[in-house]
Symmetry: C2
Subunit: 177 residues, 2 copies
DNA sequence: TTGGAATGTCAACAAGGCTGACTTAAACTG
DNA sequence: CAGTTTAAGTCAGCCTTGTTGACATTCCAA
């Protein structure tokens, strides 16, 4: 049920005869949403970035560590698709992580062309440090906003993804509850 | 009121005797939120990026155009704070925009050290083209998710910002409805 | 056995961040 | 008025992280 007290200030909804909900979204409301995304993403990355600045790593290293943690044993190609970068770009990051002993690359058993990626103990430790920093902010934001807001947050974000990314995202959600 | 059907799958809320709502947020739920942010931000920037790729501009030019549009007459220093980059970095972008006749820089009347920035007609046209592309996706996401979700989306994003960015954001919201 | 797929590597380049040093002009302040 | 601070711009150099293109290797599968 769409009720006034649940609606964003300024947005309007109306039920048609057929029961379909129409939304009147002004350009201004959408603009504000875009700005919110911009500022929030800055906050989202700020804490891990601060940690990484000390080490000689960047945000790209964090992303690699994150998704290797999320899907241990993933192949390079799979990681490429998730991250949406070229293999040359990923390779540069991956190479330093392997050299520094944070990531282990194992030749595939069934297909020996493939490399399966795992975090070493040291890699797991850094990954945890980075995500702890990121999660602290998210936890605080979730608590401030409340569970209804969080559900809406997730719904809008999912609807904003490219269809291919949405598939990747849902695949990652499976098998993790 | 917190009711089960409004809650995100897997999140739990409980009312204490004092009426305070407690949230039990697992690391896993927060991780999923982080991944949603990552994938959604990619989608968020994808459409304007495609347009900019043709021209010799990048995302940084888009951001400058966006905020000059949002706050016409803003000074360079103010824009610096909003974008969170160094003046050297902004200057490189701003210089090309001014040279190409998309942005006009006027010497301040009251303080002649300041430069006030405005979009030219051409600048306004490009800005509109870029935000139209971005807004189309946001409009679609907002419609899919519904007004309650949008309100929650905005609440979580705002709570995720650095306090200083939150101030900038709210200041921008004022005087625009 | 040959074609194609997966991976890795080299080179070159561009965008867009950063720091540091310095100039100019204007404004403020003692 | 002299000295300091502020706003803006510039130059030089560096780093990360993205890109393309070319090419080698390895291995699977038809």
């Amino acid at each position: 049920m769409v009720e006034a007290q649940h609606m964003h200030e300024g947005s309007e909804a109306r039920r048609t005869g057929s029961g379909e909900t129409l939304l009147y979204l002004t350009d201004e409301q959408l603009r504000q949403g875009a700005e919110a995304m911009f500022f929030a993403y800055r906050g989202f990355t700020a804490d891990p970035d601060r940690i990484l600045a000390g080490l000689s790593y960047g945000r790209a290293h964090h992303r690699a560590l994150h998704f290797i943690h999320a899907a241990p044993g993933t192949t390079v190609n799979n990681l490429l698709n998730i991250l949406g970068v070229t293999k040359q770009s990923l390779n540069r990051v991956l190479r330093t992580l392997i050299e520094d002993g944070l990531v282990e690359s194992r030749v595939g058993r069934v297909d020996k062309r493939e490399r399966h990626l795992f975090l070493t103990d040291a890699g797991g430790t850094l990954e945890r440090e980075l995500s702890d920093a990121q999660r602290a902010r998210m936890r605080s934001a979730y608590k401030q906003a409340g569970p209804e807001a969080v559900a809406g947050f997730r719904r809008v974000l999912e609807a904003m993804m490219d269809p291919e990314m949405q598939r990747q995202y849902r695949r990652l959600m499976e098998g993790r509850g």
